[in-house]
Symmetry: C2
Subunit: 305 residues, 2 copies
């Protein structure tokens, strides 16, 4: 099985939506990415940090999904990264209520020796220098390095971010971030400009409006599944990225054709993620359910002319 | 050939975009709908009104596209409906600078006798009572009545609008309007509720984010073509509706399958409309160009899983 390295946060989330409210539950980019990637035949390892307050049961939950945790540092006298947010009625915007970096503030990622030759590296949203450190620890150039990032780093660490962007094959960002990073309003122009900064592939996430994949020659569009109800959007973007990375790590060949499929898988998994609070839906997800939903994606987009 | 009745405005538009500014040029919903529908093998008639100031050359232009103008009333001492607008930098929002109803204020549509048995009726955005009058003039129930409307009538003539909605087969509105009309935020829930008001089919236009088609059992999603540059969005929604109506009027059978194709055609034609000011691009559009762009739509959405 192909090795997949996933770096990102493992966190406590406290979430409030119009449908309810949670106490501290399992969250974090690496968690959602890992749970999504665990749906594929790949040897995936998480690289992250938690505090002594992080329950063994959560670690077990991840281990049972065959996620290797050798690269998850536990700081016994530290506290786990905590985020709390409240979604507005439309579920498209949210207010951050609390961000406690805790052990994340001094996080020095260490990729376990046996994963330093991984085929695919998924850099979840983190400080660009942390992401860069992971790339530099790889003993062989991975076949595919995927970068997820956000506007916060464009505002606060642009030079470092540009260094990372230069070294990756795929970047996944949302439409507003693509516009900010490129200075172009048209997403076609934005993607072209971002490609000149390094990545051969640009994935632009548009939330409920789907996602676009660009390489030099082609564009592919994957819709989001129109949903009756979005219960909790937390982790949907990471789940999308995890499905994308996991599918590609499992693929024999990495090509545009495979990336199209990977984006559909990512969108499919994200459509489950939002159905319950936090990671709840992703924990119990079956292969049959995924295949059934993939059929819905096909029906949604197929036409003959 | 199937008969298609198109009711809507024929107008002067004066448009300002970041790319330039026009004097009074040819515009109006019926104009854009008609130009798009003229790409299909259908016997289409416009029902509208203009003033004595409307140039014969514009009427000729429409006639040359095989659009029947017997239902276009010319009020010799009246002035043609005039709209002027200015687009913001993002092209997604605009300010209306001038609206002069002129002859449109007293418009009583008259469907020519020979079109009162038309197979398809396309009701362009107008006062609901004007739309209702057109439906009532039909001597046989058309196989398909398509309604385009907007939030203005929801705010100002909701009761009349609901009467029209009850009588149509398809309604095309944008996402915000679907939410306003239904009181539902989720577009899936909104479409379901609107279906209980009358239309068997609901088309939700999301502009650059594509369009959704709903019937009772299924959902289809058509993306908008990602464009490098949008020159002038005026008429894109009407062009979409015109392509949709024209394709269906040409079809032997009217089914969900055909409607999926019709939406792709509508999106395809709309992607041309925005490339130049006003109707300019639609006047010169060739079948080869359309077919080439349809291939782009296929490539944009095709995947195999």
């Amino acid at each position: 099985m192909s090795k997949l390295v996933i770096v990102g946060t493992i966190a406590f989330d406290a979430i409030e939506t119009p449908f309810g409210k949670t106490d501290k539950i399992l969250g974090g980019a690496a968690t959602f990415i890992g749970l999504a990637a665990s749906q594929f035949k790949t040897d995936a390892a998480l690289v992250s940090v938690v505090g002594g307050d992080f329950p063994e049961s959560y670690l077990d939950l991840l281990r049972k999904k065959n996620l290797n945790l050798d690269g998850v540092e536990i700081v016994p006298d530290g506290k786990t990264f905590f985020w709390s947010g409240k979604y507005h009625l439309d579920m498209n915007s949210r207010d951050t209520l609390v961000t406690e970096l805790n052990t994340l503030a001094d996080f020095n990622p260490v990729v376990p020796q046996q994963y330093r030759d991984a085929r695919v590296v998924m850099l979840g949203n983190l400080h660009p220098l942390v992401q860069l450190s992971v790339i530099e620890q790889m003993t062989t150039r991975p076949e595919l390095v995927i970068l997820d990032t956000m506007n916060f780093w464009m505002d606060n660490a642009l030079d470092d971010l540009l260094k990372v962007i230069q070294k990756v094959d795929v970047i996944t960002i949302n439409d507003e971030e693509a516009r900010q990073l490129s200075g172009e309003y048209s997403l076609v122009a934005a993607a072209r400009k971002i490609q000149t900064m390094g990545p051969k592939y640009v994935v632009i996430k548009k939330g409920e409006h789907g996602a676009l994949l660009f390489n030099k020659e082609a564009i592919f569009f994957a819709p989001a599944l129109p949903l009756e109800e979005v219960f909790d959007p937390t982790g949907a973007g990471d789940t999308f990225a995890g499905g994308f990375a996991g599918y590609l790590a499992q693929s024999k060949k990495i090509s545009f054709k495979q990336m199209k499929r990977a984006i559909i898988y990512g969108s499919c998994l994200a459509s489950f993620c939002v159905e319950k609070f936090g990671t709840e839906r992703m924990q119990e997800l079956s292969e049959d359910e995924i295949n059934e939903r993939l059929e819905q994606f096909k029906k949604l987009t197929r036409f003959k002319i």
